[in-house]
Amino acid sequence: MIEGIFVEGLIYGIMALGVFFTFRILNFPDLTVDGSFPLGAAVMAACITSGAGIFWGLTLALVSGWLAGAVTAEIHNRLRVPHLLAGILTMTMLYSINIRIMGNRANLPLVRQETLLTQVTQAFPGLDPAWVLLGFFIVLVLGIKVLLDLFFLTDMGLVFGALGNNEQMVLAAGVNPATYKVIGVGISNALVAFSGALAAQYQGFSDVNLGLGMVVFGLAAVMIGEFLIPSNRIWVLTLRVVLGAILYKAILYFGRYYGYAIHMTPSDLKLISGLLIIFALVLTRRGKKGRGGLFS
């Protein structure tokens, strides 16, 4: 069971990295996530059931996620709509689109289908599938994390840091902030959709409501991470997001299975999530008077 928590934490950690990118680096609170997560799941499920295959499922999940983010950024840029409203608009539209992608159905089962996960476990026939998956996802998520770290060291990555800090400085560098918002919010949602594609395969189905509360999950992971490890180095920042996601999954797991002891029901979990974020906010706010911020 413990390896299940880790695997789920790692899968949702990719989504949390996307949330971290928009909320913490771009300073663009993006609610598209609640729609782009099931978008990735829907695209993946549609590709698998239609026979297009796993490779195309993952690729198209990334591309569609990027497009969803780009739409949010464009709504914000061109119509001067606040970030939050732009995200909500895209998220709402994605609900209908996701149902269309799944062939006018609210969910699409993937049981008995060949998925990335069955392929991976079949590649190591002698070993316990649960631990094979854990090993696979550790390597995969670390790979994504390292790529993201490297990205933030590039000339383009540095501009993203400045964009969330001081837009005037980005203008002075001769860079159009609107273009970078499209790229950045796109990358964030590509990660989220990719995470959704993996989650659908892990759970064995895609559902249009899979994204409910996803932003809150991502934020909780980011904040738990910040509470765990104070740092200013980018590789720690991304690492602690993933650790935060795993820990948050564990908290939810224990809440779900042992919460009955204190008369808690699964429907109370959303309340707990919200309280947890508020708690983490209070603690980090108290901890970082004067210092803190993006790379600090």
């Binding site: 060291l153 000339d155 400045a162 001081n166 400085m169 980005v170 002075a172 560098a173 001769g174 993006l294």
Partner: protein, 266 residues
């Protein structure tokens, strides 16, 4: 270098707050000129810089920079040719990024890709530049800019602007928010950089002594008009008292008293 033709600018047109700043402003600044701009509050100094940098657009008239018509070019496109420093030392840097990251972002203009340019050689170049500022920044390249003092931040902003060598620089009271010692240091650095790189410079200041001491030409603005435009020997012969007298002859707008005290300080 800069040519403004018939600039008209009204804020909040069609509303009760409508306020016309410029009604056909013309200005020509030659290559390599260092122009200081003084004037009371509301004279249109900042609006002038905003029109040149592209922060705001004129209702009518044309803006030429470097011989190109940039009337309709957005701010980020004009940034290729125009560097700018604001009064607020926080406005030009990213507080939660390191000194070297800030320098790297400013070192080039325009869209950038996935190369990692901040390498050992680049750091060495930055270190040398920082050492020349004489602000103790060369040993703090990995510190977040938010930890620096206002003077250090403004000196860093100045260096960041200089690194990309824009042909035209706009200084908007860039020493006004600093303590006297740091203000002098930043002003010194400004003079040195302008001398070394030959930037065409427009410097707005409230400090009359600075306006006289620095630069090759002095503009005095009042209610959207250029009321005094002197260069060469005539400028060298100006005194703070003389300027204040000219001001009062204009019919004493707004904050002349402030100008008097400011002028007297230095």
């Amino acid at each position: 270098m800069i040519r403004l033709e018939g600039i008209v600018k009204t804020f909040h047109p069609g509303s009760p707050d409508a306020h016309t700043v410029f009604q056909g402003l013309n200005l020509e600044v030659g290559e390599g000129e260092f122009v200081t701009v003084i004037g009371s509050n509301g004279a249109g100094k900042s609006t002038l810089l905003n029109l040149i940098s592209g922060k705001i657009f004129a209702d009518a008239g044309r803006v030429f920079i470097n011989g190109r018509d940039m009337t309709k070019l957005p701010e980020y496109r004009r940034a290729q040719y125009v560097g700018r420093i604001f009064q607020d030392p926080l406005a030009g840097t990213a507080a939660t990024m390191t000194v070297e990251d800030n320098l790297m972002i400013a070192a080039k203009k325009g869209f950038r890709g996935l190369r990692i340019s901040l390498n050992k050689k680049q750091r060495e170049t930055f270190r040398n530049h920082l050492a020349h500022l004489d602000m103790g920044l060369e040993d703090r390249m990995k510190d977040n800019v938010g930890l620096l003092s206002g003077g250090q931040r403004q000196a860093l902003t100045l260096l960041m602007m200089v690194l990309s060598r824009p042909p035209l620089i706009l200084l908007d009271e860039h020493t006004a928010a600093l303590d006297p010692r740091n203000a002098e240091r930043v002003m010194d650095l400004t003079r040195i950089f302008v001398g070394d790189y030959g930037f065409t410079t427009l410097m707005v200041t409230h400090n009359m002594a600075h306006a006289i001491r620095y630069g090759s030409r002095l503009l005095m603005m009042d209610r959207g008009r250029i009321v005094l435009d002197v260069g060469g020997e005539e400028k060298a012969g100006l005194t703070v008292e003389g300027l204040v007298k000219r001001f009062s002859e204009l019919g004493a707008t707004a904050s002349d008293a402030l100008l008097l005290t400011r002028g007297g300080e230095v």
